[in-house]
């Protein structure tokens, strides 16, 4: 394998729980709890899990919209890796050229008072790329690439004049206009209708190839992750519990949580019979969790080993299939 584009090591984010105005916080929500993974150049990793598992927090830390509590994010930059957590103010501008984000809600992620041209050209303006004419050409090219043509009919319109699908195309154009090498996409299709969804996903795949972009694709939908990503990581309460090639993960899930998640996904075929979902209770608490496997309360197979040890490490069980479980 080539040198990874992005290397994340023991990344952690704790949110203090305030009790009273002046009291020191003693409790912390362990939103992301020491996760490590790598993404190669041009590769895509799907981050899957239920609400509150820490997948969006991870995405926000990778784009420096949020600072990590501890851990390291290394982004390869012409050979010498850059530590994302310690980028200086000047370095931030270069960083933003390389890392971009696509948000979930196309209605909230755009300034309603700016035209489509202003929205898409903003990264270029901020970075001072090219002359005005060059920027205009670049924006028009991008609009054509994301399927909004002829671009002249869109350039000077406002977001409210466009449908959700069209706005998400604008969001993709805005993220790619600066030629980034890494894009975090946080549920970019979950608010769109099914018939629109596939064309947006296809667009992201096509442009990802063309621009040689790596994606971190955050979603709650395993079927979408399978369609979009080379590899899938499953998160549960701030931990990555399993990480493998997409097809391997779906056909040979090893972690009990992944198994439960997979058997709970409805299948669009009335003659398909799903395996029973083997899981107990509801999601555990993320505030000061005990030093045990995070999944222990819901695991139907937990044994003594699980009850007497810390959360299991994420280990390679062969062929790049990583699992964090003592029983595998």
């Amino acid at each position: 394998m080539t040198l990874p584009l992005l290397k994340v090591d023991s990344l952690t984010k704790l949110f203090p729980v305030q009790r009273g105005l002046f009291r020191k916080p003693v409790e912390f929500v362990h939103a992301v709890d020491g996760i490590s993974f790598e993404i190669g150049s041009g590769q895509s990793l799907g981050l899957v899990g239920e609400s509150g598992c820490g997948k969006s927090t991870t995405g926000r830390m990778l784009t420096r919209l949020m600072d990590a509590t501890s851990g390291q994010i290394l982004l390869a930059d012409n050979g010498s890796p850059v530590d994302v957590a310690h980028i200086t103010r000047d370095g931030m501008r270069t960083f933003r050229r390389r890392v971009q984000m696509i948000f979930q809600d196309p209605y909230e992620s755009m300034n309603p008072r700016r035209t489509i041209f202003d929205t898409v050209a903003e990264p270029l303006t901020v970075q001072g790329v090219g002359t005005v004419t060059e920027r205009e050409e670049k924006v028009a090219d991008l609009l054509r690439l994301v399927g909004l043509s002829p671009p002249e009919t869109f350039l000077f319109r406002y977001p409210h004049e466009l449908s959700g699908g069209q706005r998400q195309r604008i969001a993709i154009a805005r993220a790619l206009v600066i030629d980034p090498s890494f894009v975090v996409a946080d549920e970019p299709t979950s608010m769109l209708d099914v018939s629109i969804r596939i064309s947006i996903m296809d667009l992201m795949l096509k442009l990802g190839d063309e621009f040689d972009v790596s994606y971190l694709y955050i979603t709650h939908d395993l079927a979408v992750a399978r369609y979009m990503c080379d590899r899938i990581a499953v998160m549960y309460l701030g931990k990555i519990v399993e990480l493998a090639e997409s097809e391997e993960l779906l056909s040979n899930p090893l972690h009990p949580y992944t198994k439960a998640l997979l058997s709970a996904v409805p299948v669009p075929d009335p003659s398909f019979k799903r395996a029973p979902v083997e899981i107990k209770g509801g999601i555990g608490k993320a505030i000061n969790p005990p030093p045990l496997c995070r999944f222990i309360e819901r695991c139907p197979w937990a044994t003594d080993v699980c009850h007497h040890n810390d959360h299991p490490p994420l280990e390679d069980k062969g062929g790049g299939h990583y699992v964090a479980c003592y029983l595998v």
Partner: protein, 334 residues
């Protein structure tokens, strides 16, 4: 699952427009279907296709600017559209009840959940149940939906999202309805919770033998809970038939494309066929067939003439001029 005898619900040629400042929104355009006791029907379609408008019409809860231009909704032979607001209120919850999409918003935050269910029962069950009978009934309802009856004295904010949705189902069942309409009841929930709610709903439906109309944009969920399916597009029912038949041999191009553009975790990884374009503006719907601007099988006839909703096999109806051109698929995941 269909029983003999008279159908429970007949919707016939229903046409409903919303009167807005910008003109008439043609929300429901000639929808016709029949539902028998104990049957479960799924209504699928994208946002704005009219599925929730149909549900609200059945409940007599459509917005004030809704105008019924023609058609009937007959519940056990009685036309609901001809009833007064007062008569309709007496049938709501008792004959037809509904589980709404946002479980968060279905409850009044300042009253205990048990008291709110009790209120619905007191209003609709005559003669009124005694204190003890009502409590016993509520406890049984909670057990049925998998909640601890001790939760009845709790406030809505003390329930998790999944528990709240279970409690909404308990409330919908409280007056022994013949028909329950579930409008995207699990859309806001995580998959594992969704799976539990769907199982509960199916189990209860089998136990009590009531009819169910399940509305969702998610065809995978529809595939799991329904016997019959109606596919809606831009205010029209474009295909109707047994869930098995429609999933394995969709005959309307929209149904076909919807099924082939749904990603799945089973079956071989495949390229999905995107549906080009976007749904039409219902203030000014396209001429002829409403799907024609997006349809790959479009002919000149489709642009001018609206296709009739015809039987192509027993119990399988399609509104398309060229349904024979639609390729045969074997299962959505094949």
């Amino acid at each position: 699952m269909t029983s003999n005898g008279k159908p429970l619900l007949e919707v016939e040629g229903l046409v409903m427009h919303y009167q807005t400042k910008r003109g008439q929104v043609s929300a429901i355009e000639g929808v016709t279907f029949t539902l028998h006791h104990g049957e479960s029907l799924g209504l699928v379609g994208e946002s704005g296709c009219g599925k929730t408008s149909v549900a609200m019409s059945l409940m007599g809860l459509a917005a004030d600017n809704a105008r019924y231009l023609s058609g009937q909704i007959r519940l056990e032979g009685e036309n609901l559209l001809a009833l007064s607001e007062d008569e309709m209120r007496r049938r709501r919850w008792k004959s037809i009840s509904m589980v709404f999409q946002g479980a968060m918003n279905s409850w009044n935050p300042v009253y205990r959940v048990g008291d709110q269910i009790r209120e619905a029962m007191d209003l609709h069950i005559h003669p009124k149940l005694s204190e003890a009978a009502a409590k016993g009934r509520m406890a049984r309802l909670f057990e049925m939906v998998g909640l601890n009856p001790a939760m009845l004295v709790r406030f809505p904010h003390e329930f998790s999202g999944g528990m709240r949705q279970r409690a909404v189902i308990a409330m919908a069942l409280s007056c022994d309805p013949k028909l329950i309409i579930a409008d995207e009841p699990t859309t806001a929930l995580d998959v594992i919770v969704q799976d539990q709610i769907l199982k509960e709903l199916k189990k209860i439906q089998d136990q009590l033998g009531m009819a169910l109309i399940y509305i969702s944009h998610d065809i995978a969920v529809i595939a799991e809970v329904t016997d019959t399916i109606g596919v809606m597009y831009a205010g029209k029912l474009v295909e109707y038939g047994s869930t098995l038949e429609v999933f394995h041999r969709p005959r309307h191009p929209y149904a076909y494309l919807l099924l082939s553009s749904t990603p799945s975790i089973t079956g071989p990884r495949r390229k999905l066929a995107p549906l080009e374009g976007e749904p039409p503006n219902l203030l000014d719907p396209p001429s002829g067939c409403r799907f024609h601007p997006r349809c790959p099988f479009v002919t000149d006839q489709c642009r001018t003439e609206d296709p009739p909703f015809i039987d192509i096999a027993p119990g399988h109806k399609v509104a398309c001029w060229n349904w024979q051109q639609v390729p045969v698929t074997i299962g959505a995941s094949a």
